[in-house]
Amino acid sequence: MADELLDSAFLKRLETLQLTTRRVFAGRMRGERRSHRRGVSIEFADYRDYVPGDDTRFLDWNIYGRLDRLFLKLFVEEQDLYLYILLDTSKSMSFGEPQKMLYAKQLAAALGYIGLSNLDKVGLMAFDDEARNFMAPTRGKSQVWRLLRFLNALEPDGQTSLLTICKSFVVRRPIKGIVVLISDLLDGQGYQEALKWFLHGNYEVYVIHLLAPEEIEPTVRGHLELIDAETLWGVEVSVNEPLLRIYRRTAEAFCAGIKSFCTQYGMNYILARTSTPFDRLILDVLRRRGLIK
């Protein structure tokens, strides 16, 4: 089953990777994650002034001997990392060559595999205009089959409502972690209000904007009535070179706008064309962006 989305050679390479985060979240269990919280461990982190009541075992007597002042040692504390993958399964994801849905599944499978291989907690939610399928966060490599089975069962359908999903995700108050939104963001209501919901939860958000090449540079020509796959609304166009130039400009502006918005609000934006080889996206792009290492 895993071979349907990821081949075994690629899986071997994924096992060498692990998710990274710039933020350190408070988890319920100590996992193999560093935390910025100052806790008990062997790894020295910092000094602070001694105040009455601190544990005197962590006083640095060397500094006292030199400076005749009392300083307390601080150590890094390790904890769990939660990875939430929000996967757009609306009808618009059924387009593209290769199909955006397939590409998104592969991406989710890869990220989920990396997380599960590193004992991170991985949860998935498939959505269109509401949450359709939910896989609760789970840990361990043994859960990979469950992840893949979950992904294989997904079929694109329905309209997109990012606002509904983002809001419903945040209000559940899941444990803080990495949120990876994989979507084409082609929502008639826009993306801004939806993405802003992530700010409430102090998540590390990665927006993987998935588009097919023909959505950036269309190949249609002539006098057409374009039917929206999700809304079934039609728009009459006479596609010619000037209009195509404007479309390309619009698409670029669309992507640039999302990128600017994400940057402004501390989210990570990655534009992924389905024409980009999938392994290159994982091993190169996401690694450079700091999601995995």
Binding site: G96, L186, G222, E225, W233, G234
Partner: protein
């Protein structure tokens, strides 16, 4: 800019039709896409931020509208005033002489001339007026000054050809009077040249243009005809025919002679280029009939290939001699084979029946009835003519009219006259010979009477002993008798006035022309009349009631008209006019350039459409 056909602006109504068709829904292909969000934004951007893009989307529509506008403008026939003056008065002289029937230009030179004139009508601007004259041997005002183009077109179209010669002087005189009466006059002479007059003057006609018609000369023509009476007993006649080849190529043709429709002789004629030729038909029997010559040749002018004539067998001249018994005079008259002399005494004189000539010898009646008279030693009872009772003794003829056909070759010097009447000649008479004291030979003529008066008796002079006397008498009898007979000429030339004399009593006759036109003609008391409308070749029939009482013929017989060489110049005193067909274009029409622009825009529109469809 002006428009010759402003009503064509209605063609612009096709523009809304095109717009309507453009607005109708195009057949579009339904295509499913993942999302139309970006497409909608693109269209909004196109509409809101790029007006030029909107314009470019409708570029085909605008080009189509432009094409229709250009075509509508072209149909309206706009023109720019190119030459000429505002509010012109055009005077157009159109030659319709015989040579204008030449077919070297199709359909004929006259038709081409009419087309030129019509073009002048089309080029008229508002305020312009035009008068049209047609001329051959005389001018005719076809249309007086008017700005009514329809009337001008009708008048020009109605101009018919004639077979007459080209005489321009009278037409120029009319044109001059019209030009003097108007401002900005422009005279156009449309002709093939061949003007028979010399030293024509344009005088104070400032704006005269000559527009020549005709391209070549390829014509054989009969240009002369003469019938000579034979001297033999059978009085056979000879017919002399003058022909000419006016073309540059040698030609051969057959000349046929017909009498009353039957061919009586045929001759083959070989013509050298631009050379005359003659033919002589002998032994024509003395008979009345219709003579016809046909030159079988295909050439540019057919009017000079057929000549018709009316043969009149010379009849006897009926002479009534009123004399007391002048045997000598009677003998002289009876010697003449054509004279049938009847002698009566003055008491037995009666004006009826009428004679061709009445000779009064030493006697004058109280009244002269219409006719021709010769008087010896008597004063005719005419107004102002009186004879004194005192005779002249031994008058000597000291002077005589050396130009008059009767006295031209008579020498009166050796003539002695013993006695003569002293006749006072009124001023309206013509003195043919005179003595120192009084006229000796006088000619009186009015509408009714032609009378030659000799103031002396022949027996009172030795004139009979001179050879001139019998010749004078013979000529005088014939000459006077001819005045009371119908003209016996074989043919007239077109444009000549035919002199008709019919039996007395006929006052109203109808002359039927070769074109089946019926012209009424009023005759005088003497039964004479003049018919001037001989502008077509062929036979003319004079009808009194239902009967044809006389026939006569008119033919071209004009070398100047048969010579159809077109001329590019007209010579006048001090001026030479060169043919200027470009003067016809007083207006620069723009329709051609507009139509060309429409075609170019159409091609551009097609190119753009093809490029868009292939995207």
């Amino acid at each position: 800019m002006h428009f010759l056909l402003p009503v064509a602006a209605f063609f612009a109504l096709t523009i809304p039709v095109v717009i309507l068709l453009y607005l109708l829904k195009l057949k579009r292909v339904r295509t499913e896409v993942s999302s139309t969000i970006l497409w909608r934004r693109s269209l909004e951007d196109l509409m809101a931020n790029a007006p030029f893009q909107r314009l470019r989307r409708n570029l085909l529509l605008y080009l189509q509208i432009l094409i229709l506008l250009l075509l509508a403008l072209a149909l309206m026939r706009p023109f720019l005033r190119w030459a000429g003056l505002a509010e012109r008065n055009l005077i157009v002289l159109i030659d319709r002489s015989g040579s204008m029937q030449s077919t070297d230009v199709a359909p004929s030179r006259l038709d081409v001339a009419k087309q030129h004139a019509l073009r002048l009508v089309e080029d008229m601007s508002r305020g312009d007026r035009m008068a049209v004259l047609a001329f051959s041997d005389h001018p005719e005002v076809i249309q007086s000054q008017t700005d009514d183009r329809m009337a001008l077109r009708r008048a020009i179209a109605a101009i018919m050809p004639t077979d007459a010669r080209t005489q321009l002087a009278a037409s120029l005189a009319i044109a001059r009077s019209l030009a003097m009466a108007s401002k900005n006059a422009e005279v156009y002479i449309i002709s093939d040249g061949g003007v028979s007059e010399r030293d024509l003057a344009l005088n104070d006609l400032p704006q005269v243009a000559f527009i020549g018609v005709g391209e070549r000369c390829d014509n054989l023509g009969i240009i002369d005809l003469d019938l000579r009476e034979g001297l033999g007993q059978q009085r056979e006649s000879e017919l002399f025919v003058g022909l000419r080849n006016f073309g540059d190529q040698p030609r051969r043709a057959t000349l046929r002679l017909l009498l009353d429709g039957k061919v009586i002789d045929v001759k083959d004629i070989n013509f050298d280029p631009r050379a005359p030729k003659s033919a002589l038909f002998r032994n024509l029997t003395a008979t009345d009939g219709i003579l016809e010559l046909r030159l079988d040749a295909t050439d540019d002018l057919a009017a000079d290939n057929v000549v018709q004539g009316v043969l009149h067998h010379k009849k006897e001249t009926n002479v009534l001699l009123v004399t007391q018994g002048n045997f000598f005079l009677r003998q002289l008259l009876e010697l003449h084979p054509d004279f049938r002399v009847t002698a009566v005494s003055p008491a037995g004189y009666s004006p009826d029946p009428p004679h061709d000539l009445v000779i009064f010898d030493d006697w004058s009646p109280a009244e002269l009835t219409p006719g021709s008279y010769l008087m010896f030693h008597a004063a005719p009872p005419l107004t102002g003519v009186r004879a004194t009772t005192e005779p002249l003794t031994n008058p000597v003829i000291v002077d005589w009219n050396r130009l008059h056909p009767l006295t031209r070759y008579v020498n009166f010097e050796p003539v002695s006259i013993q006695r003569a009447l002293h006749i006072s000649a009124p001023t309206w008479s013509q003195v043919l010979a005179e003595s120192a004291d009084a006229p000796m030979i006088m000619f009186f003529e009015d509408r009714r009477v032609a009378c030659l008066t000799i103031a002396f008796r022949i027996q009172d002079s030795d004139w009979p002993l001179h050879v001139s006397f019998p010749v004078f008498l013979s000529n005088t009898v014939r000459w006077l008798a001819a005045r009371s007979k119908s003209d016996t000429r074989l043919t007239y030339r077109t444009g000549e006035t035919a002199r008709l004399t019919l039996r007395q009593g006929e006052r109203q006759v109808v002359v039927e022309t070769p074109g089946s036109r019926k012209e009424p003609l009023q005759l005088d008391e003497a039964g004479q009349g003049l018919f001037a409308a001989t502008d077509r070749t062929g036979l003319y029939a004079v009808r009194a009631g239902n009967d044809v009482v006389q026939r006569f013929a008119a033919n071209l017989l004009a070398e100047s008209e048969s010579n159809t060489s077109p001329t590019k110049t007209l010579s006048f005193q001090g001026r030479i006019l060169t043919s200027q067909p470009e003067r016809l274009r007083t207006n620069l029409e723009l329709w051609f350039w507009l139509a060309l622009a429409a075609l170019i825009v159409l091609m551009l529109e097609w190119i753009i459409y093809c490029r868009r469809s292939s995207l």
